[in-house]
Symmetry: C2
Amino acid sequence: MISNSHFPVQFGTVAIVGVGLIGGSLGMALKARRLADRVIGVGRSQERLNAALALGAIDLGLTDLSEGLAEADVIVLCTTVGHIIGTLPETLTQVKSGAVVTDVGSTKGAIMAAAHGNARFVGGHPMAGSEQTGVEAATPYLFEEATWAITPSAATDPDALHIVEMLAREVGATTLTLSPGAHDAMLAVTSHLPHVLASALMRQAAAVQGIYAETDQLSAGSFADATRVAASSPELWRDVCLSNRDALLAAFSGFRAELAVLEAAVAAGDASAIEAFFAAGAQAKRGWGKF
Amino acid sequence: MISNSHFPVQFGTVAIVGVGLIGGSLGMALKARRLADRVIGVGRSQERLNAALALGAIDLGLTDLSEGLAEADVIVLCTTVGHIIGTLPETLTQVKSGAVVTDVGSTKGAIMAAAHGNARFVGGHPMAGSEQTGVEAATPYLFEEATWAITPSAATDPDALHIVEMLAREVGATTLTLSPGAHDAMLAVTSHLPHVLASALMRQAAAVQGIYAETDQLSAGSFADATRVAASSPELWRDVCLSNRDALLAAFSGFRAELAVLEAAVAAGDASAIEAFFAAGAQAKRGWGKF
């Protein structure tokens, strides 16, 4: 079902398990670019599948996972990290021979471990999305200019890796293929820690609001930016923390060390050390390759 | 020179000391709304004053502070917190009798202390601006929908307070009059700490980039938001830290306590404690009055 010609790229029947923001956007992108013969959405709620159908994100909605998997050439798991880890072993036994399975989970080491070296599984993580959830926020343009990390294992078929890389590129993303461990170490600092910081600051500000009722009126752009992702799904971030424990604990340690640099300088009233702290941050920000 | 009639409000001759983003925007707003007979910009660089003149932010640019102060009915100090603290005592001796002096510094306790209970000085802090600096980024709309904190002392003339409140409201802001100490305690959490977190995260990410060269490619929206203000002026934030030392150290302590809640839950693999941490942050974010 999958053509080797450069254009059009055909992924045959694609099953998207979990049709929320990411899954719905993927379905829309595949359909808008005519990259799949058929996009099957698989989910537990018929009502949410109907919403995805109405928005044109999928061609068919099924609540029976095994039925959805049976016909698919490419299966993309778009549920939470915890759900992916819990269901992956059984999912891999239900797909048809030759099918390729990938996922969009935010951590990769624990998911790759749950695949037990299956040659047709390739981990994936599109760096797209927002604090919004649900297919209502989906857009076929979500992956444009995004990086889509892809994490094969030593056991992954080169053919399966190639198909997942093509899928990511054809919906507009730039692919970056790397090891699950490197992915998780970097994401701990570039994504997981920022979410933790946003929630921690929001919790602290709410406590201060209990003392000074004008606190929210005295918050502006820097606070809004710093806490934007505090509105994200608690379940999603619970799973991320549980599945990337060691890298996240290392990231906490590194962050505390940075804070301690400034805290010591402020406590000592050391003007040049304080300025140097912010100057290094500003220089790093200006030199950052993306965002 | 200052009319008591409700409309039009006339502030006579307004001197803006330091014509950057805030000072330039204030000049533009005063001129666009015809709120001043004349807007004098005072600064050290004739070249920057010329830029402000060319942009229509001021009517006249002077490099001589005493000349600029001599004729002004209202003086707004828009330089850095450190500069305001250092020059305020002398500035207050140079203004004409009956003139009102205010400022836009991000911390208020140390600035109020430098005013030594002068009855014509009223502290101010428009909660507007961005990581941008310079009059080139100025806009007459900067203060619209912004909160402008105003911090009189026990010695402040009610008349002087009223003029500064009117000035803030006439350029579009909502005023919030409160004590310098309450202002500084709240801002430590809603503004100063977010800037510190942004710089600390940016410094940490730069260190990780030295280990994993793809780190910047694996950063997305949450990282961009979390580090946006890391590009801010190191000198400005040095002054903020030095002048709000105690409140900032208390904010560090509160933040570390929040982080420790999650760190302990992650280390223990306590799923429900991790979820509760994020759920409380999400609830606080949804309930936040502004931004």
